[in-house]
């Protein structure tokens, strides 16, 4: 009897161990397969954007940082890149609709500035190709810096004492204080604002960089269809898409903000006036999405889980379960990187005999 019991127990333990081992092997296979699928759709952030075709010096980045935080070039003395792209709010401003010059409400939400040089273009309508073009045109925008012309902005930069910094940043130019160089310097600074995240470590092969829930969410993110648009190095930002493919967005969400604007935001159409661009918006990147509510071009949705539900419904015609939503949110949280240290630390700006 005793021997029988021992044998039975040994057999039972062996069987259980085998099951456990098979499960582990299976889980490992599943994990490997998931990573392989993910690696086909997404790429980790590069370590740097300081590549041969876009050289920039420390002096240029330092100047760009100062200009990014400089308020005195705006006509109200308060606007700066940092007003909408605030280090305290992960490079956004945490508002539904952003606030511009003289306290005017802007028509759209301010996206994070992080990783934006990797987007196909800038702005929700995509009407600015590069971060440099965005920075340069902002100088004249009546909602941003409000200067009448570039000469006005350039004169302010000289008065403010920036001439020496421009000289250092653009050493081979006879008159470097220019709107073009303002843009180049700010662009150089922005090109340093990359935010590597746990998902990057995962994509490089570290299975333990993200949780089991996040992996289930990643699987779902790809199988449901989110990754159809939200793929690549910044998980989106590479294409344009109609907002509300399967349902009318504004009827579905009842966006209050749009009422304020007395009319719908027609996306790219506002710039091109082409009928095919009606309600077409740039697909935003999803890096740092968990840190930058509220969501969408009008900030009409406050919570990330609701944003996931709205997207699934309006873009894919799908009603996600709470479990699916929670898993996808867990995946999206792995896209959160740290605020770059050189962005979090305020620059000391020139002390100038400036009198607005």
């Amino acid at each position: 009897m005793t021997l029988k019991i021992i044998i039975r127990n040994v057999l039972t333990i062996t069987a259980l161990c085998s099951i456990a081992i098979v499960s582990l092997v299976n889980a490992e296979d599943t994990d490997k397969a998931l990573l392989k699928r993910a690696q086909a759709l997404f790429s980790p952030l590069p370590d740097t954007l300081r590549v041969d075709d876009y050289p920039f010096s420390d002096a240029r980045v330092e100047l760009g940082k100062a200009l990014f935080f400089e308020t005195r070039v705006s006509t109200d003395g308060r606007m700066s890149c940092a007003a909408c792209h605030n280090p305290s709010y992960h490079g956004g401003d945490s508002l539904a609709l952003s606030v511009g010059l003289n306290g005017k409400k802007l028509p759209r939400n301010a996206p994070t500035v992080f990783n934006t040089p990797l987007l196909i273009s800038q702005h929700y309508g995509g009407n600015r190709l590069t971060v440099e073009e965005q920075a340069m045109k902002a100088l004249l925008s009546p909602l941003a810096y409000g200067n009448k012309n570039y000469a006005e902005a350039e004169a302010k930069l000289k008065t403010l004492g920036y001439a020496k910094k421009f000289d250092e940043a653009f050493p081979n130019e006879s008159d470097p204080v220019s709107a073009e160089n303002w843009a180049t310097a700010i662009g150089a600074f922005e090109r340093t604002l990359l935010t590597p995240a746990p998902f990057d470590r995962y994509l490089k092969g570290d299975q333990r960089a993200i949780s089991k829930e996040a992996k289930i969410g990643l699987d779902k993110f790809m199988s449901v269809g989110c990754a159809g648009c939200h793929s690549g190095v910044v998980v989106g930002g590479q294409s344009f898409q109609k907002f509300g493919l399967t349902e009318d967005y504004w009827l579905a969400t009842g966006s209050k903000e749009q009422e304020l604007l007395k009319g719908r935001d027609k996306g790219k159409f506002h710039d091109t006036q082409k009928p095919e661009d009606m309600f077409i918006f740039k697909v935003p990147q999803l890096r740092n999405v968990a840190m930058t509510p509220p969501y969408f071009h009008d900030g009409s949705v406050a919570k990330l889980d609701d944003a996931v539900r709205v997207m699934a419904r309006l873009q894919l015609g799908k009603q996600l379960s709470d479990d699916d939503v929670n898993h996808i949110v867990a995946f999206l949280q792995t896209l959160t990187g740290e605020v770059p240290a050189n962005f979090a630390k305020a620059p000391v700006l020139p002390v100038s005999p400036y009198n607005n």
Copy 2:
């Protein structure tokens, strides 16, 4: 002949050495006397304001820092303490007149926030006694945060996810999210914003902490009469004085900003309506004065040397030479401290389902 020459040379050298030694001894005596006079009028900054009668914890300072940079408590989503007291501008905003809620121009210049707990009171009119009172009343000011009442501000703080931080900062209270605690926490943070400067090292006995020019300026600063009002630990900030004792200030400077305001700034009179308070202003501190142009309550003077000239003329009835002005400016530059590291580094603020 040779011996005579040698003796003559030895005597000459000895004489020269004696003169040099006497000069050195005299210079040292002068230096000592100057320091003694300075020590009678000024005091170095304390190392900390965390004294027994004003205890505050790290949690309270950390909460205060977050609230200082928090924009979502204001009705336009942009105003914060940091909007006017910006780390990039040595705790001021570099504007003649500050800009408030919805881009409205404020009637006065924003002074630096550094060392302000050591002032006799807050604001140019002195109508706020402590930094805490200032922070609390700002919540309701239509030029600052614009809340209708404290309950509105408190509700926002809860929505924004500050409850836990208030719990940690005020551990023995049942309902710690209150306007009073907002004020206490911000005050606790501001009480850490001290900026020790070369002049402090000098006052503690280090003769080499400030230059010879600065010492001449310090001597002048005391002998001309500037130190009559600008004395003590923050070199001013301890008393009220009429602006324009010997001449009419507005006629003398032709302040453009005042035209904008359609009327003169009557100082303390605006709050008290007492005739004796007409044109009475708090004497500002001079710590960090070289870093915080433009000058005076209306920012009407852009450069420090001009500000020194205006003060000498309107308050003391004296016309200073350029040399005197330059020396006094050299002294004032020794009052510049570094931006406190914990102020320069932006806090990461709560990510909240907040929708303005």
